[in-house]
Structure formats: structure tokens, C-alpha cells
């Protein structure tokens, strides 16, 4: 069902956990649907210096949370904003079609975090 990469990121998630010292957070999803993702960013010189996450969700949700941290770290906010669901899925060697819709929230979460950062909203 899942690619080896998804399994790897699910079993050994990168950069998991809330950042101790973050500048903004993007909260997406809803417990009613079974998937909630909080993406935390720390920004320095317009770049994502550090990124962390908290996720309740299926293996795909956890793996995409993990993957976005690898894709976004070090990127400028403008570059990071452009990361799409497809980029994440591709980097994970694909996701089951059903999971593209329901669990691939990380790109939205990051966008929301950046938006909050730009608007000076921390929580």
C-alpha cells in the first residue's frame, strides 16, 4: 500500500515535535476526520531556519509531516510557500490516491504557518 519511503518516514519521522522556540504555527485538519497537523516554524533572514510538527493521523499524515520538514528547511519563505502536495507525495515516491486527498495536509500547514508569520500571529 505505502512506498518504502513513506514507511521509512512513518517509522523514523524527522524533526518531530513542537519547536521550543518557534515564530509561527500552522494548524490544519480536524480530529473529526482523523487528521490534525500543527507545523511550527522558526524564521531567520526570511529563511526557515528550523521546522517541527505535531500530528495526529495515519501513516501518510505522519510521513508527509516528516517529509515537509526535509523539503522546507533552509528554504526562503517564498520558496517554501511554493511546496505543493504533489511535491511532498513525489518526494515520498507517491501516496495511495485516497491519501492524497485526506492526509496530505503538510503543504497547507506550512503555508498557514508562513501566513501567520507574515501577519505576526504566533498562536
Amino acid at each position: 500500500m505505502y512506498s518504502q519511503k513513506v514507511i521509512d518516514h512513518f517509522m523514523n519521522p524527522r524533526n518531530k515535535g513542537k519547536l521550543k522556540d518557534y515564530d509561527a504555527v500552522g494548524k490544519v485538519g480536524n480530529p473529526v476526520c482523523g487528521d490534525v497537523m500543527y507545523i511550527y516554524i522558526k524564521v531567520k533572514d526570511n529563511r526557515i531556519e528550523d521546522i517541527g510538527w505535531e500530528t495526529m493521523g495515519c501513516a501518510a499524515a505522519i510521513a508527509t509531516s516528516s517529509m515537509i520538514t526535509e523539503l522546507a528547511k533552509g528554504k526562503t519563505l517564498e520558496e517554501a510557500e511554493k511546496i505543493t502536495k504533489k511535491d511532498i507525495a513525489d518526494a515520498l515516491d507517491g501516496l495511495p490516491p485516497i491519501k492524497m486527498h485526506c492526509s496530505n495536509l503538510a503543504a497547507d500547514g506550512l503555508k498557514k504557518a508562513i501566513e501567520n508569520y507574515k501577519n505576526g500571529v504566533k498562536k
Binding site: 515535535g17 473529526v32 490534525v36 505535531e54 501513516a59
Partner: protein
């Protein structure tokens, strides 16, 4: 691997497989054939029928072989609906039936039947007063499952049998999960039809049967060459049926020893898992299958839980949306009043005769670790905060 998903399916018992083997390539006749090979097949068929009838206190002529539980349930419900549509178009069932009952009912609604779906209480039990009140003159069928496949709750079929027995309706019960776990007696239950599936009782997949009490007016689901007294056509799956018969026999013979042992292990699981905080048991504390434990762990999602258990060598299942083809969380967990988020965080453990105390101890070591790993990753720790 430690397999704890016996309500999903079971391995074929070695003795059952041994019993089946000759029917694949040695005694491979078609039971309708006149020649020796055919007659030998027919003998195997009739022996299996007798074994099964004995377990449920039916007459062998009342056992109709099918391809499994799904077919048995489709057959019972559509068969009664079509054969009795001039008598009435009303059917009663419950909200916690297996999808093969619910979706059959929904299809019948589409083509002109009327279906009442009974509510259940927080333990998964129907209210017999409500059942009685729901029966109408034009009710042709009541279909209520014996034991639920997710939460293990056992209905009081004898009481239900009495109530429906006083109406004009036929009574069907889905006993796929209960047979060989608890005693079954079609006469005491006063049921007209009862569904069984072989692969849930250490028999092969792709076989099952429907008990149909003599005299019940029912249309076939499979029309054809007139097998099974004209009610279920199709060349009989002799190897499968022989295995099914043997599995029933063994399962029932060993029930008095196996089930108390598994029930004790199951209780050990429940007692210990409930020590994990923000965790609760789904289903009835007492009226439940001896092999079933079903929990909700708040703040985590079931697919992740099942996959992490799998990675540590334990196979179980969940009522999370992610595990279903419909993308909805378990309709059973919702029907007993769980919030969707708690249904997503459910775990079903169903034991089988090969499970040992050692298996259970390992589960009890690993499960709390995994739950806390997942909760560590989760944004929620004590409540769903702004989402509640």
C-alpha cells in the same frame, strides 16, 4: 508474528487442511456427476452438512452452502424480500450490522423496500421494546446479528426470537462471529435463518452456509443448475465445504476448553490496557465475545497504531476511517455514541486458539509504548482544545 485479528480472518487449522487436501486433486469429482468420482464428492458434501447441522441443532437438509458470510447474508435478505414482496415490503435491522447486511438493505430500499434501522445503546444492545414496537403487519423480515464483529456485543437472541416469533416476519441472524465462540441453537433462538462463514472459524476462505428452517419461503440468490435443493446453484466447492465442516466440528468440540482460556487472556488485556490514561473499552463489559477487546485511545489515530503494532510483530485492526473503504469511521462505533475522533483512535484485538499468555504479555508491553509514542507526536495531550 503474533496474530490477534481473528475476527478478520483465521488461518486454516492444520487438521482441517489435511482433511481438505484429497478433494483438490484426488477426489475431485463434481457432486452432480453420476460416476464414482461424483458420488464420492457428494458423500463429502453430505458429511459436512451433517457436521454443521449438529453444531447449531438443525437438520442437515436445512444447511445451504454458500461462498461465505457475505453471500449468506445477501441470500437471506434478498431471498426473503423477493419471495415475500406480495406479503409486505418492510424489513427491520440494526445500525450495527455488518456492511453486507446494511448495504443489502440500502439496495433494497433503492428498489422499493422500506427498512427500519434500530438504534443500539452505548454497549451495542438493541432495545427489545423498540423492536416490538417496530414490527408491522407488513414486516417480512427482521435481521439482527448475534455477535458484533467490531465490539463483540452479543444480543439476546432468545428474547428477540420470542418477539419476532409472535409476528408474521421471518427472523434472520448473522452468526458469523459467534459460532464456535458461544453456543448456538437455532431452535432455542427461534430463528428462521442463520449465517455462518468458514474463514472465521479456522476453515478455508470462500465458503459459508445459510441455515434455512424448513418451510421458509425464499428465492435463490444464485439461480442455475438446481444444486442445494434448487436454492443455491453452482458446482459445490467440495474441498472448501469439507474443510468448513471439519472446522465447525473441531471448533465446537474445542470450544469448552478454548473459550474460557481466551476469555481469561482477553480479560487480562482489558484490565491492563485500561490502565493507560484517556483509554476506554468499547462494547459491553460482560455480554461480549470471549475473544474480543475493543479500545479507543484518545488523541491518536488507529491506522498508525495498527501499523506500528505490526512493525513490532502484532497484527490487529481498527475502526478508523483510514482502514475502511468508505473513508468513514466505523458505523458501529458511531452507533454506540462515540465521537468520530474517538472512533478513529480505536483498536480491535481478537484472540484465537493459538494465542498464548506470552503473546498477551508482549502485547501489554508494546502497546502502551506505542500509544505514548503516538501521543508524543500528537498535537493533543489532555483534550482536543479548540476543536472540542
Amino acid at each position: 508474528m503474533i496474530y490477534m485479528d481473528h475476527s478478520a480472518t483465521t488461518p486454516v487449522d492444520k487438521r482441517v487442511l489435511e482433511f481438505m487436501l484429497p478433494y483438490f486433486d484426488k477426489k475431485y469429482g463434481n457432486a452432480s456427476s453420476l460416476h464414482s468420482m461424483g458420488q464420492e464428492a457428494k458423500k463429502a458434501l453430505e458429511e459436512a452438512r451433517e457436521k454443521i447441522a449438529k453444531v447449531i441443532n438443525a437438520d442437515p437438509s436445512e444447511i445451504y452452502f454458500t461462498s461465505g458470510g457475505t453471500e449468506s447474508n445477501n441470500f437471506a435478505i434478498k431471498g426473503i424480500a423477493f419471495a415475500n414482496k406480495d406479503k409486505g415490503k418492510h424489513i427491520i435491522t440494526t445500525k450495527i450490522e455488518h456492511d453486507c447486511v446494511l448495504n443489502t438493505c440500502k439496495w433494497l430500499e433503492k428498489i422499493g423496500f422500506e427498512v427500519t434501522y434500530l438504534d443500539v445503546d452505548r454497549y451495542g444492545l438493541i432495545d427489545s421494546g423498540v423492536l416490538e414496537a417496530s414490527l408491522r403487519d407488513d414486516t417480512i423480515l427482521v435481521s439482527i446479528m448475534h455477535a458484533n464483529n467490531e465490539i463483540g456485543t452479543i444480543q439476546d437472541m432468545e428474547e428477540i426470537g420470542k418477539i419476532v416469533g409472535e409476528s408474521n416476519a421471518y427472523l434472520h441472524t448473522d452468526a458469523v462471529q459467534s459460532v464456535t465462540k458461544i453456543p448456538i441453537d437455532v431452535k432455542k433462538m427461534n430463528v428462521d435463518m442463520l449465517s455462518i462463514s468458514s474463514h472465521k472459524i479456522f476453515g478455508p476462505k470462500g465458503v459459508g452456509c445459510l441455515y434455512i428452517r424448513k418451510g421458509v419461503k425464499i428465492d435463490p440468490l444464485m439461480h442455475g443448475g438446481g444444486h442445494e435443493g434448487g436454492l443455491r446453484s453452482g458446482t459445490e466447492n467440495i474441498a472448501g465445504i469439507a474443510g468448513f465442516g471439519e472446522a465447525m466440528k473441531i471448533g465446537e468440540e474445542e470450544r469448552p476448553r478454548t473459550m474460557p482460556r481466551l476469555e481469561k487472556l482477553r480479560d487480562k488485556i482489558i484490565d491492563n490496557v485500561l490502565k493507560i490514561d484517556n483509554t476506554f473499552l468499547n462494547g459491553h463489559p460482560k455480554k461480549r465475545l470471549p475473544i474480543n477487546a475493543n479500545f479507543s485511545f484518545r488523541f491518536i489515530e488507529g491506522e498508525s497504531l495498527v501499523l506500528l503494532l505490526d512493525s513490532r510483530g502484532i497484527e490487529a485492526s481498527t475502526g478508523s476511517a483510514c482502514s475502511s473503504k468508505s473513508l468513514e469511521p466505523s458505523h458501529v462505533l458511531l452507533a454506540i455514541g462515540l465521537k468520530p475522533e474517538d472512533a478513529h483512535g480505536s483498536l480491535r484485538i481478537t484472540l484465537g486458539k493459538d494465542n498464548t499468555e506470552k503473546d498477551v504479555d508482549y502485547l501489554l508491553k508494546v502497546l502502551p509504548e506505542i500509544v505514548s509514542e503516538l501521543r508524543e507526536m500528537s498535537p493533543f495531550k489532555k483534550d482536543y482544545g479548540e476543536f472540542e
